[in-house]
Subunit: 176 residues, 2 copies
DNA sequence: CGCAGATGATTGCAAGTAGCAACTTACAGG
DNA sequence: CCTGTAAGTTGCTACTTGCAATCATCTGCG
């Protein structure tokens, strides 16, 4: 968390320092938010991943299991199970595709949408409280930058290493 | 992701809209970063949580298991196991407290510090690439705001609901 | 037509992560 | 000493996830 400017990469640069600061801040944020989500969302009878799925279906409309998997960066089997849970709870329905009997169209149900709205409203309210004392001008650019970071991270790492392990030694000895 | 301005809470307000946008952006960011971390860090033979622990010990110095647990928002038993793994791998050591035979001082080893530096450098490099095309002025305020968001979120939810379940119905029927 | 190969989704299995409750060891007060 | 409290650990259970194998279709070619 302290600067620490490692000095042995990008030889110097304001950029590197900024990146260090941002990285530390983001690591913290992500960690804390994982918690916030775990505890908050589970109040409403779904898990975090389930909520992401619900959100995707709410925002982007019906889609196939595979597409959802790609969107959420999940394995297709995991996606199946996430949807299983949502279907069981009545928040999502599987509808077979007219043109392809293998494929399914996943769509959110009214009950699912209403749940999602509720959760979303809570989270947004929280966010609003935190934003309240931040300069309106800054708010906009922050959101913008966060969006860009998310997009960049996704792009980088979806095309790059990801999708089931990184290049060299992934999984060598983590098990323990 | 589209505005959607629910319109039935905080009746209107620019703030609410900003909060919605931010919430969506953050949700995305957090989700993507969870992945980045999972895939990247595991290349180096430790899990994400283990890396958080390592980071805490690297940044804040030796501490007790309990303190670390509080810092990482983990149960003490989970913390024990996280440390178990790090000790087994030689990245952390347990040293009994001189004054209290029950307590342990957890401290990062040179090997642990070096691993953490390596991982950190990689992540920072990635961050730097993404920051490269963002206005330097904005960079600073973004980091600042992210820090504040993290702090606010942590404060809110550590004192509030958290620490083992939220107020009313947590755990009622999530299992399925 | 009918079969081989590709494709969408599901299932079996194994590993990782986490919390709660019970337990062990040690400190603290009377 | 003996009781109560505190620091860590262990047993158990549950959830999440990915990989590999499987099932059901679809598609194309002979």
């Amino acid at each position: 968390m302290q600067p620490k400017s490692s000095s042995r990469n990008k030889p110097s640069s304001r950029l590197w320092a900024d990146a260090e600061a941002l990285n530390a801040a983001l690591a913290d944020l992500v960690r804390v938010y994982q918690f916030r989500d775990r505890d908050r969302i589970c109040c409403h009878d779904i898990s975090v991943t389930q909520c992401y799925a619900l959100e995707a279906l709410a925002d982007k409309g019906p889609m196939r299991s595979q597409v959802l998997a790609a969107l959420l960066l999940l394995d297709k089997s995991t996606t199946t199970r996430v949807i299983d849970a949502l279907v069981r709870k009545g928040y999502v329905e599987r509808r077979t595709d007219e043109n392809d009997a293998r494929a399914l169209s996943l769509r959110i149900t009214p009950s699912g949408r209403s749940l999602y709205d509720t959760i979303n409203r809570e989270l947004v309210a929280q966010q609003a409280e935190m934003l309240a004392d931040i300069d309106p001008q800054v708010r906009a650019s922050v959101t913008d930058v966060i969006r860009r970071l998310a997009k960049a991270a996704e792009a980088r790492f979806v095309s790059g290493v990801s999708v089931g392990g990184c290049a060299p030694s992934c999984g060598t000895s983590n098990g323990d």
